[in-house]
Amino acid sequence: MISLYDELARRLRAHTPTALAVVIDGPNAGATLLVSPNQPTMGSLGDDELSRVAARDTLGELEAGRTSTRHYGPQGQTTPEDLADSPTVRVFIESFAPPPHMVIFGAVDFTSALARAAKLLGYRVTVCDARKVFATARRFPMADNIMVAWPDEVFAVHGDQLSQRDAVCILTHDPKFDVPAIQGALRTNVGYIGVMGSRKTHAKRLERLAEVGLRGDDLARVMSPIGLDIGARTPEETAISICGEIIARRTGRAAQSLSTTTGAIH
């Protein structure tokens, strides 16, 4: 029989949403459950009812992408009355959400640096360009996936899955490509949309976007010019500026130096 560890490794490598629940104290410390949506639960917490209740809660935590510790009675009791006179079992629930996804449009020098920085942050990276000679695994060995395709085709494949944790970065500088890429990205729930270009390019792009019916409110989600104002020049520095902006947008921070601010760091 396949071990719990081997099954965990298999599910994580397949990017299957997965969670582990483990008893962390008491006589059954170390007893472990492996839970994924629509897949059989594996393992046991030492008591059938406790396993059943904890598996249900673990699925809920996984769906919310949360990692937490929960308290149960020895047979999975959860109400305060049931727990009042009984020892409690602490169960640590760890959610392994699939890695976030960064879709980069444009197979240019900046793409290579951004893809490397995104891998550092744990993203699954897809590089897309309609030009077969540029979008190659040889040029982007760090990418998880390379698509020789137009934006419509890319969003037809990945659009539905893009969520708040994901990012679309449009580095093409080419109106044939970046306008449909912006249109496509805006139709998804992706958390970050950034578009490269100088302020001049950006102004011209706004005109073209207006021509296809996108203006003001529609474009509030689009970060352009892309990145934080850290004076980045090289592709590598620009990649850091973009990743910094993605993190700051997610956390809602103003991206100042900590030395000039007060309050909690994390």
């Binding site: 994580l12 962390i24 410390a29 170390g30 393992g43 510790t69 640590f92 959610s95 760091i265």
Partner: protein
């Protein structure tokens, strides 16, 4: 734990016993979130991390003792504010709870 898979696979293939330590709770300021993990094998090889480097040395010592004594899984706490705290703490002043377990499953 995702980041440890390749090394854990290698150790298991080589028949090396190992302990996995996972952050299960943080109080106050802490550099890593719950779920951060490290692993130590019987040869003292270490992968992963659970703090900014403040407690890893102590975790290795605990893990090796656990392997040597065939201890059952347990929670260990590092920090200044806890009565049962070990002498090692986080420089940021927080308290970190780790679940240590030999990987036998």
């Amino acid at each position: 734990m995702r980041d440890l898979l390749d090394d854990l696979d290698r150790w298991r293939a080589a028949g090396k016993r190992c302990v996995v330590g996972r952050v299960v709770g943080i109080e106050g300021s802490g550099p890593r979130e719950a779920g951060a993990a490290m692993a130590v094998n019987e040869d003292g090889e270490v992968v992963g991390s659970v703090s900014g480097g403040c407690v890893e040395g102590a975790v290795v010592a605990e893990a090796l003792e656990m392997l040597r004594e065939k201890d059952s899984a347990r929670v260990v706490t590092f920090g200044y504010s806890d009565d049962e705290a070990f002498a090692v703490g986080l420089t940021c002043g927080g308290t970190i709870h780790l679940f240590l377990q030999e990987l036998t499953w």
